[in-house]
């Protein structure tokens, strides 16, 4: 084996090239705009000069003498006739011009201030780090305002920057253009010390270098020309652009020499600037794009680096691989869960290298004789001297086989039992790539077990998947140890199984284990054998016509571990309102209950499957699942199970009943409408009459749908296939059945009924203002009977929204996932248990605050003490331990536990009826499990966190608003809310507060209303019924006494508030206030004044738009729309310490960063929980801790964590590629290659997981 060099790059320093440097590197000055002459030879001094490197394989490079394969290419240069500005540094040029004196080039800040800044800069106290970072900003702010240079006293002029490249200085004589030459001269004089203050590294980047005098010409390898089929040479975009530069440069030189009028020369200079600009970046705003002859915009340097297909993301962070395959997938329930079926044709293309040894030489000889076209065979042989033989071209393979010796390397076909990695995009979590064993099968598709669909999120409607063959022993070992399907049974997102039975497996399990299922001895034996049962057959427990019979439960029990005990409630029992805790397993025997989704289903924590995986290990769980699934599949296949039109037929009686019930609801709706017209409808607080009516109607209609659905559903008996599937959790719900047999119900768009589209009607087929629910999308028909044309159209409207929603959601959640991954990818667990980034910055002092790995936990807990006690109870004998004994034992074993775990254990043990020995066993087991559940050093906790939050994002709804029945306020929920939170927005879309009241007021409704009035913002505009404006003299405000009373404001109070505006004098006139204008002014001014008055807050707090009183357990709580914590704390009568707001940023500002962190955790968890998505708190905590680790809330994204990373390459690979690199160059930043992205880019191993480990050698010092 060849010696691998691991990590040979220590770091990368970024800098700006000086003209001298460019000339030094240059091997040729390019002067000729021509590339090739008529003979097709490259022109000397042209852009394809042989000295710039070589492209054709046979040719030797004129500079280094190497052939194309080894010549790296060499830079040339163009001497520009006039200096031009470098577009990537244009902002820096502007800022420098603003901060430096036009005459002496010093910073336009007094010497004292400079000294002060220098002092801060040189301070090595750790706490001033942030102050240091702010120096350039502060200098810029101060210098901008300076009118006179504090150093030389010269007047400073205003600078106008016309994007992209023109600077004009406004002097007394008018505007003068600042030419690059002038700018360059000014920059040359800037002192190094001044530059240091501005964050520049003068040794690597002098600002005068931002003005180009020479332009480097990249080697031809960077811009290879392509020869088209027609034999015509087509040049690269960069070459085209360089040609433009050379042409203009030459013309400019000639014109200057010829003494052309300066105006024309200036035009040429501008043209040169244009070409130089577009050479660097062809997407600069303000100038036209440079186009190719064909009309396509040129792809120049910036475009090459930027974006998804750019160099950073497209070629460096993601690379193309060999030994991979992709094809359509299809299901095969007969293969093992951990297998993947591959077509023979694929197996014969993909190879695995194997070294010939004396132990495998015989086998390999046979393979070699088979050759490349007979399976299993060998495609290549590599001799120890490095010569590779392709067996396709070998005549006599047996001869070669005979010559095989130890040490030869063969590349053999994939065959059964080899390990490969299988993947489906989008790879949202670690289970999207798993290691499977190969099973070579006939056919042309990849085959996978239907039960591994959930982790891949795959189905078989045409999905394709990728397969990768690891080539080294290390890679195979890693795949085998970490990535196998059975090791991914438990999802790290919530610590429960993600793989399990689904669809027909569940139905089958139910059919097999339901009480009346009996099997003949031969059926039983066949199924047992199919499941791989090898033990003794049990005794049949019942008798039938054909002799002794087994029950289905007995068959299922065969595959349970013999000491397994478990009690739970099945989904079926819940669905049919049967008894709870019906599933009883005692000593590996299913005593009662049916097996359904809650026992063996996928994504079902605390199930039988989960318990087996937890208590007996993954291998056992996989074996169990494999056996059960295959027998269940076989059973249902023979049983015969189908669902069709007939299964949905309803008796006429039920049909009429449904019709009647819908009609009843319609009548109620009409009643609501007439009540509303009369104004007698009971209003709900916080809603306008129209909104209230709509809410009542929606509520009534949804009730109508539900009753129709459940009536239909209930009318089917328990043997109906649909009901079986719905109640066991195999597929569908009673809602689906209801829609098929009952009524479809209300169709909606944006969460509302279909109300508009045409004038006052949803479709032109209805009359305007039609009150009939039919006219607004209520579908009375069901899928079985079919929809009427109008109903169908309404249904399509709702359906369309669903499609759009999905399309938008995948994009949004995809971007959120990318940002999360980017912000967290480099976070790992260190050996001391802390969570840090690779630069040593601590994010958490103990992972998840308890150091437990969710993937190894039991549904989020280190271990399940109740389970331990329960299983111990069954075998426990002896007398109950005393309290003292229990406490003593608990104390001994729980020393290392954290307080919560210790308390839980103590309580559970004290409640148990175990003997002393039993307690000790439980304690021992618990301690052992606790130690096993701890996270391992090097664990990529960051990536797992990002995935655990990002992946459920794809499953969230996009609906922004949520009307929970007749509730009072709108809150952003689902994906938009999640994005809002990780964005660390200053203000959420729907800010809201929950205000609890102090003991005195919380039970008193009157007091609560009084407080609410003090909180609600009351503007003058909401108190008046009219205003009269006399533009010359006065504004008259006519107040509505009813409203004044309602809001609890008096005229005098308003008058008091208005005193603060000095533009007028007030005069109270009954219920009116007259504002007498002091100065006479024109109409617009008066209007401005009037608007100001209207918007004046007379009572309450700004931003609080609406308040509602809600009763929570005989306590009044004020809920608001709008949030203003700071002001709220000044209000009396509230329980300050219990106020909540959903504006996390505001919490940070008023209560501190730690409070913000807590609130962020709360908001994130409730958002996810609300959508029914289970994500462990540890992940949410890590994200919150990371976002708050710098003392203020940092966004997950380019302005926050991903944008402030230490690594230049990581930042450049995320977003804003080119400016990032430009800034790194002027600051002289060094890339230390400690993170993940950086190492992927340079191609070395990543410092996460198994890559954390390094070998260090202690070299003893010389004596």
């Amino acid at each position: 084996m060849s010696v691998q060099t691991i990590k040979s790059i220590a770091g990368i320093r970024f800098s700006v090239s000086s003209p001298a440097e460019i000339r030094k590197y240059s091997v040729v000055e390019v002067t000729a705009p021509e590339t090739y002459d008529e003979d097709g030879m490259s022109v000397q001094g042209g852009l394809m000069d042989g000295r710039l490197g070589t492209l054709e394989p046979g040719q030797k490079c004129l500079t280094c003498g190497n052939t194309a394969a080894r010549c790296p290419g060499h830079f040339g240069h163009i001497e520009l006739a006039e200096p031009v500005l470098h577009i990537a540094f244009i902002d820096n040029i502007y800022k420098l011009l603003l901060t430096t004196c036009r005459s002496c080039s010093r910073l336009k800040v007094t010497q004292e201030e400079l000294d002060k800044f220098t002092k801060i800069r040189n301070m090595d106290a750790a706490y001033s780090l942030l102050s240091q970072k702010k120096i350039p900003e502060q200098i810029l702010e101060k210098a901008k305002k300076t009118k006179e240079c504090p150093h030389c006293g010269k007047t400073q002029y205003e600078l106008i920057f016309t994007k992209p490249t023109i600077f004009i200085e406004k002097t007394e004589l008018g505007g003068t253009r600042l030419l690059p030459v002038t700018i360059r001269e000014r920059f040359t004089q800037i002192l190094d010390d001044d530059l240091l203050l501005l964050g520049y590294d003068p040794t690597t980047a002098r600002p005068e270098w931002f003005i180009l005098q020479v332009l480097p010409v990249p080697p031809v390898t960077v811009r290879p020309s392509i020869i088209l089929e027609t034999g015509i040479r087509s040049e690269d975009d960069l070459t085209h652009k360089m040609v433009d530069v050379i042409r203009v440069n030459q013309r400019l030189k000639e014109s200057k020499d010829a003494g052309t009028p300066p105006l024309i020369v200036q035009d040429l200079i501008d043209l040169l600037q244009y070409h130089a600009t577009t050479y660097f970046d062809n997407e600069v705003s303000g100038i036209p794009q440079a186009h190719h002859r064909s009309g396509r915009p040129l792809k120049t340097l910036t475009q090459r680096l930027k974006g998804k297909e750019g160099r950073f993301r497209g070629s460096l962070s993601g690379k193309r691989v060999d030994f991979s395959s992709r094809t359509v997938i299809s299901p095969d329930p007969n293969i093992d869960l951990s297998e993947v079926g591959i077509p023979k044709s694929v197996a014969m293309k993909l190879t695995i290298p194997e070294i010939v040894t004396e132990w495998n030489i015989d086998r390999i000889k046979k393979l070699v004789i088979n050759g490349p076209s007979k399976f299993p065979g060998v495609n290549y042989i590599v001799r120890p001297d490095g010569v590779k033989i392709r067996l396709d071209f070998v005549e006599d393979r047996s001869l070669i086989a005979d010559n095989l010796e130890n040490g030869y390397l063969i590349e053999r076909h994939l065959s059964d039992g080899d390990i490969v990695m299988f993947n489906r995009q989008p790879s949202l979590h670690q289970m999207s790539i798993m290691a499977h064993y190969i099973r070579v099968l006939p056919g042309k598709t990849f085959r996978l077990h239907p039960s591994v669909c959930p982790p891949y999120n795959a189905d078989f409607d045409g999905d394709e998947m990728n397969l990768h063959v690891p080539q080294s022993e290390e890679a195979r070992a890693e795949a085998l140890l970490l990535m196998r399907v059975q090791d991914q049974l438990i999802s790290p997102r919530y610590g429960g199984p993600i793989i399990g039975g689904l669809r027909d497996f569940i139905t089958g399990a139910y059919l097999l284990t339901k009480d009346d299922t009996v099997l003949t001895v031969s059926e039983f034996s066949n199924l047992a054998m199919l499941g791989g049962y090898e033990g003794k057959l049990p005794e049949p427990v019942t008798k039938g016509k054909e002799g002794p019979m087994y029950t289905g439960k007995q068959l299922f029990s065969l595959f349970l571990p013999k000491d397994f005990n478990y009690v739970m409630t099945s989904k079926w029992s819940k669905g049919t309102k049967g008894i709870t805790r019906d599933v009883v397993i005692k000593n590996g025997e299913l005593i009662s209950g049916v097996i359904d989704k809650s026992s063996i289903g996928a994504e079902e924590p605390e199930s039988v499957l989960h318990r087996i995986a937890k208590d007996y290990g993954n291998v056992q769980a996989k074996k169990f699942l494999n056996s059960v699934l295959i027998i269940v599949k076989q059973y249902i296949t023979h049983y015969g199970f189908s669902y069709g039109y007939d299964d949905l037929e309803l008796p006429d009686k039920v049909r009429n009943e449904i019709q009647d019930k819908i009609q009843q609801s319609y009548d109620t709706v009409y009643d609501f409408i007439s009540q509303a017209k009369k104004g007698t409808l009971k209003l709900t607080r916080g809603l306008s009459p129209e909104e209230a009516l709509e809410a009542y109607i929606v509520n009534e209609l949804s009730k109508a749908r539900d009753t129709a659905g459940s009536t239909a559903d209930q009318s089917f008996d328990e043997t109906n296939s649909g009901r079986i599937m719905a109640t066991t959790g195999a597929r569908g719900s009673s809602l689906n059945i209801g829609q098929m047999a009952g009524a479809l119900g209300q169709q909606s768009r944006r969460g509302k009924r279909l109300l508009t589209g045409y004038n006052n009607r949803a479709l032109p087929h209805y009359k305007e203002h039609d009150d009939n629910p039919d006219a607004h999308g209520f579908v009375k028909s069901n899928y079985r009977d079919g929809l009427s044309a109008l109903e169908f159209f309404f249904h399509a409207m709702g359906g369309r929204e669903g499609l759009v929603d999905t399309a938008v959601r995948t994009q949004q959640s995809g971007y959120m996932q990318r940002r999360l991954i980017n912000a967290l990818e480099h976070i790992r667990l260190e050996y001391d248990g802390t969570v840090r980034d690779p630069h040593g910055h601590i994010v958490q002092f103990l992972y998840g605050e308890d150091g437990v790995d969710v993937a190894k936990s039991d549904h989020g807990e280190a271990f399940n003490i109740n389970r331990l006690i329960e299983s111990q109870m069954i075998i426990d004998t002896g007398k109950k331990a005393t309290k003292e004994e229990i406490s003593e034992l608990a104390k001994k074993y729980t020393k290392t536990f954290n307080s919560r775990l210790r308390n839980n254990a103590n309580e559970a043990l004290l409640d148990s009826k175990l003997s002393k020995e039993g307690i000790e066993t439980v304690c021992k087991k618990g301690l052992e499990l606790y130690n096993k559940a701890k996270v391992e050093p090097g664990q990529a906790v960051g990536i797992v966190t990002a995935q655990s939050i990002g992946e459920p994002g794809t499953q969230m709804t996009l609906r922004t608003f949520h009307f929970a029945g007749i509730r009072e306020r709108n809150v952003t929920l689902g994906l938009p809310r999640l994005i809002e939170l990780v964005d660390a927005r200053k203000k959420p879309v729907t800010p809201t507060m929950d205000i609890y009241l102090d003991d005195e007021s919380k039970t008193d409704r009157e007091k609560a209303i009084e407080i609410a009035k003090n909180i609600l913002q009351t503007k003058i505009s909401s108190l008046i019924y009219d205003s009269e404006t006399n533009y010359a003299t006065e504004i008259k405000l006519l107040f509505n006494p009813k409203k004044l009373k309602e809001r609890g404001v008096s005229i005098e109070e308003i008058d008091q508030v208005l005193q603060s505006i000095k533009k007028f004098k007030t005069e109270i006139n009954g219920n009116n206030i007259v504002l007498k204008l002091v100065d006479e002014s024109d109409a617009p001014t008066v209007i401005t004044i009037r608007n100001k008055v209207m918007n004046t807050t007379v009572k309450g707090m700004p931003d609080i738009e609406r308040v509602t009183l809600v009763q929570k357990e005989d306590e009044w709580v004020i809920q608001t729309t709008g949030s203003n914590l700071a002001k709220l704390f000044q209000v009396k009568g509230i329980d300050k310490k219990n106020v909540r707001t959903n504006n996390v940023f505001e919490i940070g500002a008023t209560l501190g960063i730690e409070a913000a962190r807590n609130s962020l955790i709360n908001e994130l968890s409730s958002t996810l929980e609300d959508q029914g998505l289970e994500v462990d708190v540890r992940y949410i905590m890590l994200v919150a801790d990371l976002m708050c680790s710098k003392g203020y809330m940092q966004q997950i994204g380019r302005h926050g964590i991903a944008g402030t990373k230490d690594s230049v390459l990581a930042r450049a690979a995320f977003e804003i590629t080119v400016p990032t690199i430009a800034h790194a160059a002027l600051a002289g930043e060094i890339e230390h290659l400690k993170g993940v992205t950086e190492n992927v880019i340079v191609g070395s191993s990543i410092p996460i997981g198994s890559g954390t480990v390094d070998l260090y050698m202690q070299v003893s010092e010389k004596k």
Partner: protein, 83 residues
């Protein structure tokens, strides 16, 4: 960044955990325990509403006793920095 005006302090709010300044000696021990430099700790601004009442100076180390849903109680340290 944190706002400059801090109108009312509510140090006993349910969201605010216990913050305390720890002595130089203790701070040394924390740094030694985690083998890190002060800047490698999570940061907190001197102006943070939760600590302004404590008479804190830049460079102080703050010990935060958090309520934890996984561990019952957990300790967190932050290093005070200038704004």
């Amino acid at each position: 960044m944190a706002s400059k005006k801090i109108p009312v302090l509510v140090p006993d709010h349910v969201y605010v955990p216990k913050h305390e300044i720890i002595s130089k000696k203790e701070a040394e021990q924390v740094l030694k325990k985690f083998n890190c430099k002060p800047t490698e700790l999570p940061l907190i601004f001197v102006t943070d509403p939760a600590i302004v009442g404590l008479g804190v100076k830049p460079g102080d180390m703050i010990k935060i006793t958090r309520k934890s849903s996984t561990a019952g109680e957990s300790l967190y340290y932050r290093y005070t920095v200038e704004v």
